[in-house]
Amino acid sequence: MSADSVTPDLLAILHPDPVVAEQQYRRLLSDLTRAMEWRGCHDPEGVAAEAVYRGLKKAAAGVDLSQAGLRGFVFGIAKLVAKEGWKRDTRAQQLAPETWEQMASRRRDHEAAEAQLTLASIQRVLPEQEWQMLLRYSTETDHEDLCRELGVEPGYLRVKIHRLRKQLRPLAAGALPRARSRATGLPKESA
């Protein structure tokens, strides 16, 4: 069975309510995918999906999770899965230097219309104070003034901004795992 075979019974390991279980599954998958990116895994999405599936299967079989919890257990499995993956294909997909140059020029020559659309979307999703805070943080090179105005520490503001970005999932969340299809009524996250 592959990672695509996460059944409702396995999801129930996360929470008895299938709606909550689906959301927690997606969050675990998303976090683990991002952690595998940080680890330098060449297929973070695939490794994360496989690790979560194996972890849920083992949890359903009654493995002891008291030490690390399910999340820690799955993260541990992901390390092993990543090693297996690396054995199969160790070629890394790297950007060539000229492509980095294109990325740099894209920073300078951004599409004005696209930026306006993104701005309008952000302003629709977030309250005014929050989107202004987010956009100021994103465009200012020194955040001391903003911290002083808000009366918060830089570390707190950084996490606050991160949480605002999470609310802009289609715009800001970056690489998200392919969502499993479940009749929960909650829309799938974009890949």
């Binding site: 309510d17 299938p18 709606v19 909550v20 959301q23 927690q24 969050r27 976090d31 952690a35 990116e37 940080w38 680890r39 330098g40 999405e45 690390a68 999340r71 820690g72 993260f75 541990g76 390390k79 997909q93 790297q94 950007l95 980095w100 990325m103 894209r106 920073r107 599409e111 696209e114 930026a115 306006q116 993104t118 701005l119 302003q123 629709r124 999703v125 005014e128 987010l134 956009l135 100021r136 943080y137 994103s138 465009t139 090179t141 570390g155 950084r158 996490v159 901004i161 991160h162 970005r165 609310q167 802009l168 715009l171 800001a172 970056g174 690489a175 009749a183 929960t184 009524g185 909650l186």
Partner: protein, 273 residues
């Protein structure tokens, strides 16, 4: 673990032992995970603003050369571009700024012979407008308006109707659905209403679970009996409902246990401008 260690981890330059310990902590400490993710957002911004040293930039461009991390950079830059578009719309040349021109010319205007009568007329008009506003403002507000004055809080009430196929007492085969709750920006208090088609009996309790954050609020429930349907009302602060997905669970206490009588999924967002 300080920010420099986290940055080295993200850039792939941290030693193996500490990298493994940090990775393991990501799995057991969700708050720490969030902190590392926030550090990554900052790292991308610093790269974009050319604030990394030459060595750091080289390490960044090596570590972030994979398609998945490229996607994350593009998503981050989309917000930066939106911010720059917003700033461009806010900035006006100082010479063309109407307020600046008024300040420059105001001293000369004050010296003009006709200044005093103009000032008197302007002051009198302003006083008249203010008097009218103060006099009529309370009666200008229609009853039940959601406009909040300075000393009033804005309450937003909504009835949750979407129910799923897996909740207790539901018809089999019904597709699970969710309610969209769009809050006006100035909302202070949110009332979640649920119609119950059976007598309640014992007092009810409510739990509102944030699916995204994993936080749960336990709240009392007001029950308003009616001839056909009883309404359960859960009241909570709007600040406890940031945008995201939630599940409201209503339960009835049966001795030492509680019996869930209904669950409702809903998604909170704020009204656009």
């Amino acid at each position: 673990m300080d920010d420099e260690v986290v940055a080295n981890f993200l850039l792939g330059t941290l030693d193996q032992e500490r990298s493994e310990r940090l990775f393991d902590r990501l799995g057991t400490d969700a708050d720490f995970f969030e902190r590392v993710a926030a550090c990554e957002d900052d790292l991308i911004l610093r790269w974009h603003h050319s604030q990394l040293s030459a060595a750091e930039r080289e390490q960044f461009e090596r570590a972030y050369a994979t398609p998945a991390r490229q996607h994350r950079i593009r998503a981050a830059l989309a917000i930066v571009q939106a911010g720059e578009a917003w700033r461009s719309s806010q900035t006006m040349p100082a010479a063309a700024h109407p307020a600046t021109e008024r300040r420059i010319g105001s001293w000369r205007w004050w010296r003009a012979p006709i200044a005093m009568p103009r000032l008197a007329i302007a002051t009198g008009t302003a006083f008249l407008v203010l008097a009218v506003a103060v006099t009529f403002w309370p009666w200008a507000q229609p009853p039940g308006s959601d406009t909040a004055g300075p000393n009033r809080s804005l309450t937003f009430a909504t009835t949750l109707t979407a129910i799923g196929d897996k909740g207790p007492g539901e018809e089999p085969g019904r597709t699970r659905n969710y309610d969209r709750v769009v809050l006006p920006v100035q909302t202070d208090v949110v009332q979640l209403r649920v119609k119950l088609d059976a007598p309640v009996g014992q007092p009810l309790t409510a739990e509102v679970l944030s699916v995204d954050a994993g936080q749960a609020h336990s709240l009392p429930v007001e029950v308003h009996p009616a001839e056909l349907l009883t309404t359960a009302v859960v009241t909570m602060s709007a600040s406890d409902l940031p945008n995201g997905d939630y599940v409201l669970t209503l339960a009835r206490a049966d001795g030492n246990r509680s019996t869930v009588i209904s669950r409702h999924a809903f998604r909170v967002s704020r009204a656009g401008r």
